[in-house]
């Protein structure tokens, strides 16, 4: 059975490798110092989509991402790995969105895409770690959800079977399509870029990017329609501006502080027999151990 799959993916700053210059003197995040990457668990989700495509001929995988213009890179990264197309949701009105406003915007874009059987996304993004957008998109679309998916066993008779990874165990569940599934980081890594697909799609561009592209390429976009990536603004997806971005966000950031730990006066020891003997005696004497 062929499936229509949408993968929600986010471009995120790589918070796992934060260098010393990542924070500005005033305590705010210096986004420019952090490389922008494909959110890791969204790559796990993409892999699940591609596996379903491998197992179910005729399946299409469409990426949907929201972000600034440069987030079109996420769609290209998806195309390089085997996705069939993608949409970039980009508009100043989306800026400053919390998870609820984000899921509203994404749900409106999904309504615009209209036809789908499975919506896959990573469990959470590393810049916020909230794990909220997947379930909130599901609720906004009135869809069922399966979170923390580690393995999708397959689709049969309109039902999908999924293994979930919980804190202290695993669970296998079955549910009808259409459905939203969030994929856990313990699921298999995404396949690498395919060299042929990189060649095919490296010039794929959104309308905005085309305006900045050098004239040499421009004729390519009419002869190779698959190079045209679609970007959508608030009006394109029929979204209500008030429910987007900052104004659509019930949560507000009151304060941001740099993390500073209270330094202690510490005693430095060398790993000699004498000093280790002294340390253990001290810890036993003050009843810390023993």
């Amino acid at each position: 059975m062929s499936l229509r799959i949408i993968v929600l993916a986010k471009q995120v700053p790589d918070t796992r490798n934060v260098g010393k210059d990542a924070m500005k003197a005033d305590g705010t995040v210096n986004r420019a110092a952090l490389p922008a990457i494909f959110n890791p668990e969204d790559l796990n989700a993409l892999e699940q989509a591609l596996r379903l495509k491998d197992a179910n001929p005729g399946t299409t995988v469409t990426l949907l991402t929201m972000g600034p213009g440069r987030a079109a890179e996420i769609i290209r990264e998806g195309l390089y790995r085997g996705a069939d197309g993608g949409f970039l949701l980009t508009d100043r009105a989306f800026a400053g969105a919390d998870t609820l406003a984000t899921s509203y915007a994404l749900s409106m874009a999904i309504r615009k895409i209209k036809e789908y059987d499975i919506i896959l996304c990573g469990r959470q993004a590393i810049d916020g770690d909230t794990a909220q957008v997947g379930p909130q998109v599901a609720e906004k679309l009135g869809l069922n959800q399966i979170t923390y998916a580690e393995e999708i066993f397959g689709v049969e008779n309109g039902k999908i079977t999924v293994k979930r990874r919980l804190e202290r165990g695993v669970e296998t569940v079955e549910a009808k399509l259409p459905i939203v599934i969030t994929v856990n980081g313990s699921a298999p890594d995404c396949r690498p870029r395919n060299a042929k697909l990189v060649q095919k799609y490296k010039h794929a561009k959104t309308v905005t990017e085309k305006q900045e592209a050098s004239a040499d390429y421009l004729e390519l976009f009419s002869t190779r329609p698959y190079l045209n990536l679609t970007d959508w603004n608030v009006a394109d997806v029929n979204a209500d501006v008030v429910q987007c971005g900052l104004s659509g966000s019930p949560t507000k950031v009151k304060r941001i502080e740099n993390v500073i730990f209270q330094a202690k006066e510490s005693k430095t020891l060398q790993p000699t027999d004498g000093e280790m003997d002294e340390l253990m005696k001290e810890l036993i004497a003050n009843h810390t151990i023993g």
Binding site: D129, V173, P250, K254, A263
Partner: protein, 339 residues
């Protein structure tokens, strides 16, 4: 109306620690606000839940008992909370930042159009002044959480929408009985009035939940290893020391990712938060995410061959050396001095 609600996770008739921790926090906030603390239990065979939660200062326990509500699935539990919250209009609602709470919370918040803050590390009550509108919001919930991989701490508020919702990880808040004889009221509900048959849309075919093998949260001594321990074999040294001095082994995220240690033992923002009497950090450089999960330890010993490791600044004792040379000596001299 306008009370604090805690959604309780229940497995085998036992209320999860994370829920009891939230009840403890909820009780203290309810005292600050002068409102009541209410608990929600949804599942099956919930006869003993009251006994477990009332000592934490629960004024009202809302019970939804139905065989179909266990094991947890998203839609029926969402319907219960959404419909109950529409009737009860809580000002604050908490749930655990667990695979259940993080599945349920966002869905409920979306349905009610109210804000939810994930993984809070601190919850306080305070005011907020909106200068542009010349408006003061009193007694808001300050939802304090790390962001950007733990490099900053943000205080989040929900000025307009109710309930103000937050999730908290297990071990972050303390669990404390307020009165073993605390008197609360139990309200039992007809589940069919809150949940529709179509909500039972997920079938759990198989479920394997293990009892927790470790007790790092409750252990007074923790020997934790980082990536600097170097190998799974070297991690055995930590287990040896733990066995001799009576402690548990923990690990940093880097050590877990490298496969040196199981995830259950991970300490830090994405693992558990611990407050032992003695914390021995071996080969742990001390990323913010890790320090946030252990900084309240009474005594911290850092074993690291890098004298400039960031964790050394918060350590009481810094031993400059490798795990291979230091740990065997600790074992040797502990044995010698306790004979």
């Amino acid at each position: 109306m306008n009370n604090i609600f805690v959604y309780c996770e229940i497995e085998d008739g036992f209320v999860a620690d994370v829920s009891l921790e939230l009840l403890t926090k909820g009780r203290s906030l309810a005292n600050t606000l002068g409102c009541r603390l209410e608990a929600v239990a949804a599942g099956h065979q919930l006869e003993n839940v009251g006994k477990q939660v009332f000592p934490y200062g629960v004024d009202v326990l809302h019970v939804f008992d139905d065989a179909r509500l266990f094991p947890y699935t998203s839609l029926p539990h969402t319907s219960i909370l959404v419909n109950l919250f529409k009737e009860e209009k809580p000002q604050i609602a908490f749930m655990g930042a667990t695979s259940i709470g993080r599945d349920l919370g966002p869905r409920v918040s979306s349905a009610l159009g109210s804000g939810l803050t994930a993984d809070c590390t601190s919850l306080e009550i305070g005011n907020h002044e909106e200068k542009r509108e010349n408006k003061v919001y009193e007694n808001l919930l300050y939802q304090i959480r790390p962001a950007f991989g733990g490099n900053i701490v943000a205080t989040i508020i929900n000025p307009e929408c109710r309930p103000q919702m937050a999730t908290v990880r297990e071990g972050v808040m303390k669990k404390e009985i307020v009165d073993p004889a605390y008197k609360g009221e139990t309200k039992t509900y007809d589940v069919n009035k809150y949940v529709s048959d179509t909500d039972f849309a997920v079938t759990v075919i198989d479920r394997q939940i293990e009892k927790s093998k470790t007790n790092i949260k409750g252990s007074p001594i923790i020997i934790a290893g980082g990536y600097g321990v170097g190998s799974k074999e070297n991690f055995q040294l930590l287990h040896d020391l733990a066995a001799v001095i009576g402690g548990e082994v923990g690990a940093s995220r880097a050590a877990v990712d490298a496969g040196f240690c199981e995830h259950e033992r991970q300490i830090g923002q994405t693992g558990v938060t611990v407050r032992p009497k003695l914390y021995i950090a071996c080969g742990i450089s001390g990323q913010i995410q890790h320090i946030a999960g252990m900084q309240e330890s009474s005594i911290i010993i850092s074993v690291n061959n890098d004298p400039a490791a960031p964790i050394n600044t918060i350590a009481d004792y810094v031993i400059t050396g490798t795990v291979e040379e230091v740990i065997p000596k600790m074992i040797k001299y502990y044995k010698q001095n306790t004979k």
